[in-house]
């Protein structure tokens, strides 16, 4: 198994952290992982993204050109990364900030009202957590919800430790969004 992902949004939405949390959780579950942020010549307020690879074997390149899965947080990122998803891949998109239904043939699009659920959980800043929660509910072989929660303390920066519970709540909320129809 080798799954290549891209997390993309605008600077400040926590897409780099979302990818890092998944990488740490998968690593602690015994997977090979890599994480690399896009550090091109990005504009302030422009798109930010990171590539994450989760695998059972050694990872050749950490850079992802044709992702199996993308988590899209805003409209510019949808335009940039929607068309490069592999056929049969998954596209999670943040319906709170993306009005149009993505039109990507051969790709399953999964709506996640990330900002709305994040605000309900206590802060719109946890939209990244909602998305990661939804991601692992749909693709459980990447990492379990409990692995993500366990990875939070070592991933969230020290000065935001008081926000751990908030992040956990947002993770669960995204997870339940996808999981609920099955478990009920």
């Amino acid at each position: 198994m080798m799954t290549r992902l891209i997390f993309a949004g605008y600077g400040g939405q926590g897409v780099i952290l979302a990818g890092k949390l998944l990488a740490v959780a998968a690593m602690k579950s015994g997977k090979c992982v890599s994480h690399i942020p896009s550090y091109g010549v990005e504009m302030r307020g422009g798109t930010a993204n990171c590539s994450v690879v989760v695998a059972d074997e050694e990872i050749p390149s950490p850079l992802v050109f044709s992702p199996d899965i993308v988590c899209i947080f805003n409209e510019p990122s949808l335009i940039k990364f929607g068309p490069i998803v592999r056929k049969g891949g998954l596209l999670f998109f943040n319906t709170s900030l993306i009005d149009a239904e993505p039109n990507v043939p051969g790709v399953t699009c999964i709506p996640v009202p990330a900002n709305t659920l994040a605000e309900e959980a206590g802060s719109y800043q946890t939209a990244n957590m909602v998305m990661v929660g939804a991601l692992v509910a749909r693709v459980p072989e990447l990492a379990s919800l409990s692995a993500l929660i366990a990875a939070l303390p070592s991933t969230v920066s020290a000065r935001k430790k008081d926000l751990l519970q908030l992040n956990e709540k947002a993770l669960k909320s995204g997870f339940d969004l996808i999981q609920a129809p099955v478990s009920r």
């Binding site: 990488a23 091109g40 050749p60």
Partner: protein
């Protein structure tokens, strides 16, 4: 590996910094440049915690000459930069080499020539292995291919530098520096090196030591130094040449690459095996000394050798020297910060089969 060894997810550049601290490096002098800024940033945070000194110099020239000063005083000192900054440090590296001072220099290569860009590249192979500075000197070049190796080889670099009184260059690239991977922090080697015979530690109760590279008499001094250096370089070539092979037994095609390219080639070897094509990987870990003999042996009897680099073809010249006429050598490269993809390499090799 110790029982307490725990995997952490760490960025390549930060792994270099922590490994240097573990190696006992207490002096870091640098000047900022992307994509290696996390090295000085990490050292600025970490060195004060262990009683060390981090200093952001006014220029690259100042930084490398501060390394000269600290090394002359017997300290473990390092600097790091990326391609354009390393070009500026070449004068200092030549002086360090002439004065036989141990020092660790890190180059996280970026796209060039000129100011280029901030993406990863391998365009500095010639500069690293042929001496970007003036004079008949060599320095050891280590080429890590993972975050774990960035740490392990940085640790090794300090020991090799002290053992041979030589500059050791850790040659990575912007992608390796920016990526995060699982890492088990290395243990200090515990090796001790006696510097009392040459280090400038105060000459009150002993004869004075001199550290310099100006030797005006060709006959009595400078040729003698050069002969001694060459003798040392031969010893290093004999003892410190490092490489790794993967799947080379009964491989029909041999893929050769260093650093980031080597891990992509390893992925290609795996893909090719699934398609029934027998390919193997030869990865030089030391670029100087280059594993000529080992590569010559590994290349014998192969249908084709494919060298892959993130440049226009630099290491391929050393591969041709090693392989001579025993097998045909092909080259595939990407430039300007582009990175080869596994699929492109697989396609290339499958083209040989048809």
């Amino acid at each position: 590996m110790t029982a307490t060894a725990e995997k952490i997810l760490m960025k390549g550049n930060e792994a270099i910094g922590e490994a240097a601290v573990i190696a006992g490096c207490r002096y870091f002098f640098g000047y900022p440049i992307t994509p290696q800024n996390e090295v000085p940033a990490y050292m600025a945070m970490r060195l004060p915690q262990v009683g060390g000194t981090f200093l952001q110099a006014e220029s690259e020239l100042a930084a490398i000459n501060m390394v000269f000063g600290a090394a002359a005083a017997g300290a473990r000192a390092m600097t790091s930069s990326s391609s354009p900054g390393i070009s500026l440090k070449q004068e200092g590296i030549s002086y360090l080499s002439g004065a036989e001072l141990p020092a660790v220099v890190v180059n996280m290569m970026r796209g060039g020539p000129g100011l280029g860009n901030i993406a990863g590249s391998q365009g500095d192979y010639f500069q690293s292995t042929r001496g970007g500075g003036h004079g008949d000197y060599r320095h050891i070049v280590l080429a890590p291919a993972s975050v774990q190796e960035l740490a392990d080889l940085t640790l090794l670099a300090f020991d090799l530098a002290d053992q041979y009184r030589i500059v050791v260059l850790v040659l990575g690239d912007g992608y390796l520096g920016q990526m995060s991977e699982p890492l088990v922090l290395p243990q200090p080697s515990g090796k001790q090196f006696d510097k009392s015979g040459w280090a400038l530690t105060g000459a009150k109760v002993r004869e004075q030591h001199l550290v310099y590279s100006l030797l005006l008499s060709p006959e009595d001094a400078l040729e003698k130094l050069n002969l001694r250096l060459q003798e040392k370089y031969r010893v290093i070539e004999k003892n410190e040449t490092r490489h790794e092979t993967y799947n080379t037994e009964d491989a029909e095609y041999l893929l050769v690459g260093f650093g980031m390219c080597a891990r992509i080639l390893r992925g290609a070897v795996v893909s090719l095996a699934r398609a029934g094509v027998k390919a193997g990987l030869f990865r030089p870990i030391t670029l100087w000394p280059f594993p000529y003999r080992e590569l010559a042996a590994a290349a014998r009897g192969r249908k084709k050798i494919l060298v892959v680099e993130m440049n226009a073809g630099q290491m391929v010249e050393d591969v041709r020297l090693a392989v001579a006429d025993s097998s045909p050598v092909d080259f595939y490269g990407r430039m300007g910060g582009m990175i080869p993809e596994v699929e492109a390499i697989v396609e290339r090799v499958r083209g040989y089969v048809e």
